[in-house]
């Protein structure tokens, strides 16, 4: 019996040694926010980069809906594996995910937040949420400004524009609104004639844009901040027969919106770069763990702007969310 135990212990010792040898290969975990093309694209980008750098990438199960109640159980199960060198995740709540990720961080797994962030996203100042290595994702305010600038370019720097927003209590879309307002102000001949909130109900967005077209027959452009508001906006403009005359700008290159762009019903799509975000997480993670590199606390991968001219370019296809 004693012999058996000794043999068993020896086997364990050998095995554990073997596993540490294997562990020379880094193992990263990615926990997405929700099952959607945006995060699928992010996974693709991360996977490609991981293969290139020889990192093993473990993907957490995609939550079926947005929210900590769906994400946290999967995240905890993922962390409980105990063999992960770094975690990058899109927290589904700026508050509720703080203690959960803090616990993972304290257990020795460095955390990067991607696409969404904890607290206000500023990890440079002292706070209870400044422990992640970095936030890698979009700056919504900057994106709003980019849309304003691109729309102004399409309109020749003059005309009335309107903003169709969704929910006044969501930080990302409000960031886009503030950025757009600031951007439009830079053009003295452009005027923002109104902002409406459709609460993600596309039918409401149609009614609201219809009313604006009625009130301002000379409206030149509309910025729909997400898919539902943009789809409602272009639907209203097309029904009025004004496609092309009223320019529609929107955010996120979903296949439906790209199709509408090809039909000439949408004029401008600002695409975030989810694949880039995923790749940056892997790249910076490797640099940090192998070379001890200091990651900037905020990494913004930039945007890609789709227009009718470039939508069919082979180079542009990779920015469509699929």
């Amino acid at each position: 019996m004693k012999k058996f135990i000794i043999v068993l212990l020896l086997i364990c010792l050998v095995l554990s040694f073997a596993s540490t040898v294997c562990a020379a290969k880094l193992r990263f975990a990615f926990m997405p926010g929700i099952a959607d093309p945006f995060y699928f694209t992010m996974e693709k980008g991360a996977k490609a980069k991981a293969e290139e750098l020889g990192v093993e990438l473990i993907i957490g199960e995609y939550p079926k809906a947005w929210g900590p109640e769906y994400q946290v159980p999967i995240l905890k199960a993922l962390a409980a594996r105990g063999d992960i060198d770094l975690l990058f995740t899109a927290p589904t709540s700026t508050e509720a995910l703080i203690p959960v990720l803090k616990e993972i961080h304290d257990s020795g797994i460095p955390v990067i937040t991607v696409d969404t962030y904890l607290g206000d996203g500023d990890y440079t100042k002292p706070s209870n949420y400044n422990f992640p290595l970095a936030y890698i994702g979009t700056d919504n305010f900057l994106g709003g400004q980019v849309v304003a600038g691109q729309l102004a370019l399409l309109l020749g720097g003059k005309g009335k524009v309107f903003l169709e927003n969704t929910n006044p209590d969501v930080s990302s879309v409000m960031g886009r609104e503030l950025g757009f307002r600031a951007g439009i102000k830079m053009f003295p001949d452009m005027e923002l004639v109104g902002v409406e909130y459709c609460l993600d109900v596309q039918e409401t967005a149609v009614a609201q844009v219809n009313a604006v077209l009625q009130k301002h027959p000379d409206l030149a452009g509309v910025f729909g901040v997400n898919v539902f508001s943009a789809q409602g906006a272009y639907q209203a403009v097309v029904t009025a027969g004004l496609e092309g005359a009223v320019k529609i700008a929107t955010w996120d290159a979903t296949e439906i919106l790209i199709e509408a762009l090809k039909r000439g019903e949408v004029d401008l799509i600002l695409a975030q770069m989810p694949a880039e975000m995923g790749a940056l997480c892997v790249e910076w993670g490797v640099k940090h763990l192998t070379k001890g590199a200091e990651i900037p606390k905020k990494v913004i991968p930039g945007f890609f702007v789709f227009t009718q001219e470039n939508v069919n370019d082979p180079e542009a296809q990779k920015y469509i969310y699929k």
Partner: protein
Amino acid sequence: MAKSNNDFFIDFEKLSRNRTILLVGRNWALIFLIFMLILFSFLGKNFFSLNNFNNILLGVSSLLLLAAGETFVIISGGIDLSIGFVMGFVCISSSIIMRDLNAAGYSSIISIMTGSLVGLLLGLIPGFINGFFVAKLRVPPFIATLGMWGIANGLAWRFCEGFPIGFLPLQVRDIGNAYLAYFSPKKGYSFLMKPELTERGDILSLVKIIPISILLITFILVIFAFILSRTRFGQHTYAIGGKVDAAIRAGINVPLHLIKIYIISSFFAAAAGVLLVFKLNMGVHTQYTSSYELFAIAAVVIGGASLTGGKGTIWGTLIGVLLIGTLNNGLMMMGLPIFYRYIATGCILIIAILIDQFFPELVYRE
């Protein structure tokens, strides 16, 4: 107002004997609607125009259908909370069918027809289940339909995963947004087909007469208004809502009748869902679709129905829906932010309840 000093309350009985007040009390919603139309015409830029009235009607078209169905349920003394999500569920289901059939190579007509019909049929199921639970198992309508609210939401969400269902045949949109007739100063009259115009001035001066979808809804509403006011089915609905015991003693098969009523309500929700597909050329379902049933209930109550049952009309509900739609559109045209529009709708609803509370004999259906 009673003359006596120590009489603090208004003497409603005396008031209700005054014929003018009686008339105003009965038609306050209509009077308020006309008042608003006049007010907004002066205050809102470009409010008073055919185009804007089309916008108001199209903006409330789904709500109109939902509220019409809800009218039957509320008259019978029940409530149906599931209609907003049943609408979303049908919208998603029928758009998925249209998309997949079209992608599989079937002609647009077949895909569109199959999608619409299956959607309408699917919509009958939640109604039957609601009715069965309410009528046969005596589950309070609030709870039974709240259960269905969750089920329909979950199913719709599962099917679409939070995404719009696109890539439907484009004819869907052409049909859904067609008008009966168009008049262009340049090209003259045309029927059903929008004239090809390129100049912005010409496009803006195009006169569009009666949206097809509104025509269809009017047709359905007339039929159901007739059923409610002129048939035995309608009388029984009022009887059940007025006094269930009396209805049973009068020999009405109350459970069967209630099941039929919930199926009607659900059918209207399904029709609204299919209409939405045609309007948007897309299937959409988000969590905010759930505010639809509350606005539908509000419209029914503003239209003179009582939540305790026994009264209400389709005509009244139509006024209620138009009141909400006009208020929203008018305040929007005036440039009032969204927050105040919610407050305004809330105030109107409270007025409606107050009138229902204090003038019961005024609004009572004879």
